[in-house]
């Protein structure tokens, strides 16, 4: 699949992140969360049980942001890198290009 449909990419990327060992949940990306509450459901077509990976199609390339909570049983640093790698593979598979900018943020270690 080759696409820059960011909604479809967001869904794919969210599934890829949730499949990474150590990831407990995907959280809505901040910081303008009040605005996101208003807009994000229709824009990103969020899954009902959580947040989603934010994918933006910019002139410089794809920008990907994800906020996750992780399992304390796995090193948060290992999980972070695994999420980054999973996103790279997922986005490249879908678009034939590596993302230009990936941000992965751990906000809770449970």
């Amino acid at each position: 699949m080759t696409t820059t449909d960011t909604r479809a990419l967001s869904r794919l990327a969210t599934e890829a992140v949730l499949a990474v060992p150590g990831v407990r949940s995907v959280v809505l990306p901040g910081p303008s969360l009040a605005v996101l509450v208003r807009d994000v459901r229709s824009v990103l077509d969020l899954p009902r049980d959580g947040g989603a990976v934010l994918v933006e199609d910019r002139t410089t390339g794809l920008r990907v942001r994800v906020v996750v909570t992780v399992d304390a049983g796995v090193s948060a640093l290992t999980t972070l890198r695994s999420v980054r790698d999973a996103l790279g593979v997922c986005i490249e598979h879908a678009t034939a290009n590596r993302p230009d900018d990936v941000t992965v943020r751990v906000v809770e270690i449970v």
Partner: protein
């Protein structure tokens, strides 16, 4: 303690300390804060700010016409998590296109959960001194706790220190320059621990 802490004190307490106290639901009561006039004023303002923020957020949600209250509840839970995130602590990494971050709140929350999970231990505050926003920086960590008086204090503090050291080694992106566990209070029977 850094310069910011000195500047930001309300009475004898920093905003972080007061925020942590509010997070705990003011339970157990900390008389030294409640008796501090400046700290009490700051606490009331902080409470009002949080209530106002929550009201605004609720108003936004209602205005959005969202019908799925369960979904909204999950979104609000996400927001609360992110709102307490604190500073971003970057993870040293060779890939220039990626930014890997563990938030200060995530590490603090982990330390709090580990401490509060130990019998007779209540974590008051976790402080990181040093530039946590610089990847791989050396950070001094101080965990301030209250202990129940029904067991040797030194033994419990040492056990917590060992547990926190292991957790930081596993999860924190910074180098721990020092780790201090400071017993600030001894809880009398009947107080929560």
């Amino acid at each position: 303690m850094n310069d910011d802490d000195v500047d930001d004190r309300h009475g004898a307490f920093t905003l972080d300390e007061l925020a942590d106290y509010l997070d705990s639901g003011r339970d157990p009561v900390r008389p030294e804060i409640e008796a501090d006039a400046d700290a009490s004023t700051a606490l009331r303002r902080l409470e009002r700010l949080r209530e106002a923020s929550a009201d605004l957020l609720d108003a936004d949600v209602r205005a959005a016409g969202a019908a799925d209250e369960d979904w909204i509840a999950r979104v609000l839970a996400s927001i609360r998590t992110t709102a307490h995130a604190g500073r971003d602590i970057p993870v040293p990494d060779d890939d220039p296109t990626s930014h890997l971050v563990v938030t200060e709140g995530a590490v603090r929350g982990l330390v709090r959960a580990l401490g509060d999970g130990m019998p007779g231990v209540l974590v008051r505050r976790t402080r990181f001194t040093g530039d946590v926003t610089t990847a791989g920086a050396a950070i001094d960590v101080e965990v301030v706790i209250a202990l129940a008086a029904d067991a040797p204090l030194r033994e419990r503090a040492d056990a917590l220190r060992e547990t926190v050291a292991a957790a930081l080694h596993e999860h924190a992106p910074f180098t721990v320059a020092s780790l201090t566990v400071r017993v600030a209070d001894v809880l009398t029977p009947g107080e929560h621990a």
